[in-house]
Symmetry: C2
Amino acid sequence: MGGFGQFVRARREKLQKEDRSYSLRQVAGRIGVEPSYLSKVEREQVPPPSEETIIRLATALEVDSDVLLAMAGKVSSDLQEAIRRRPRLFAELIRELKGMPDRAVLRLVREVRDGDW
Amino acid sequence: MGGFGQFVRARREKLQKEDRSYSLRQVAGRIGVEPSYLSKVEREQVPPPSEETIIRLATALEVDSDVLLAMAGKVSSDLQEAIRRRPRLFAELIRELKGMPDRAVLRLVREVRDGDW
DNA sequence: CCAATTGTGTACTATGTAGTACACAGTACG
DNA sequence: CGTACTGTGTACTACATAGTACACAATTGG
């Protein structure tokens, strides 16, 4: 389902069609890992990389890093830290929201962002 | 700062004063770990236990498991899963809230909980 | 054609995680 | 008093994480 590796490969190959510098080797070089490793990651022969590597990969492929982390089964450490600082508050909020539809959460996000509440 | 081990020891010793069954050995027995391990955990000679063990410990010591997990530098996996399912939405919400005072977050929690929004 | 580049296979490694197993010395109390 | 329980020290283990290093065959492009 998740398909972290498949997603990365598809995204990279899409970019590669327009720009030859998106070869596996060159992307690996930019994000600072060995080509053989990125190859295995894309074919899901190994689990997804560390958070840091995923973020560099997201940047290189111009995708949202929170989304890519989620595909890898991870949550950004800065979000985790925010929760850890006020565990009861955030735990209750998130558990309350997790049963609600997207549009309800979105409305809340907007309310908070616009500050008109 | 964190003091996960110190907190656990303090909490256990407090309970132990009123109830001798809160000895390190007996608590270790109840949560299913070796006494020597719990001893090391309390003295912070080893990192905090796994999420599962922390939750059993929280139950045994009657403390909030989200709080105890937070002290261990962790976030409950069910919260993480909720975030992973809608990464953009939750990421934005949490990042927005992390700069706000407790009372603002609390107000939001209440609004959502009471459903009068 | 051949030189460079591409993706991949195999082998190996260092560090972290999450404990167990057991012996030991001190203390408590019936 | 001794026995049963207390906390702790030492040694060891299995598995996961997060990669590196290097050789190889296939493909591509000037």
